[in-house]
Symmetry: C2
Subunit: 130 residues, 2 copies
């Protein structure tokens, strides 16, 4: 892998690193749209500027464009997003673990004392008003 | 939001759009490491080049570096990765949907006939040898 030729995942992440391009994907997540339709919410951004963003997304495989006579709709291609998701997998335990700890902490401070765990029983601890 | 000042998520995605920086994060997912330790597997890449990558990661909030006299360990900061994960959420149904269909298809071709669903009963369909 050379730095002059970016790998697939780098290409995807670089394409996603722009709020306009992410907004275009969000629009396409609701269905196919023409370049003119995609450009509409970004006025006064020029059509060539939008086309440039679309080219970046297309090169990354995040969108495709059917070429018909009057109507050239763009559509979302989710495969590269799945690769990002898979790459994230090994890091998920870090932020999910922090949340588990926070949950645990919140559970602890909401209880006056720590009772032995018995998931089968729903009876309230002594002194509880429940 | 201006294009000259990238938003947080764009900063994160741009930082991740490089195989060396992703490899540094992978190393840090195994524990804290010094800059020298992080640079080791990337030889002959220079230490200043690695430091530049670390600055990009630090600016995106993906790593932090404790500053001590002899030992300045870097550590992974998972919060920005969680934001990427959350951003992916709305797209997940696109690639997961394809897998659901495949699962459904595989279930269909493995059954000789379709039986009415009754999750409460475990009895085998007529003709089964179970």
């Amino acid at each position: 892998m050379t730095t002059s030729e970016p790998d697939r995942l780098s290409l995807t992440l670089a394409a996603l690193a722009d709020p306009t391009r992410r907004a275009i994907l969000a629009r396409l997540s609701q269905g196919e749209a023409s370049v003119t339709e995609l450009a509409e919410p970004f006025k006064p951004m020029s059509l060539p500027a939008i086309s440039k963003h679309l080219k970046v997304l297309e090169k990354a495989g995040l969108i495709s464009q059917r070429r018909e006579a009057q109507w050239r709709p763009c559509r979302l291609e989710p495969a590269p997003l799945k690769s990002v998701d898979e790459w994230l997998e090994r890091y998920r335990r870090f932020y999910e673990a922090s949340f588990d700890s926070l949950d645990e902490y919140l559970r602890q401070i909401q209880k006056p004392e720590t009772w032995p765990r018995d998931p089968g029983q729903t009876s309230a601890p002594p002194g509880s008003t429940q």
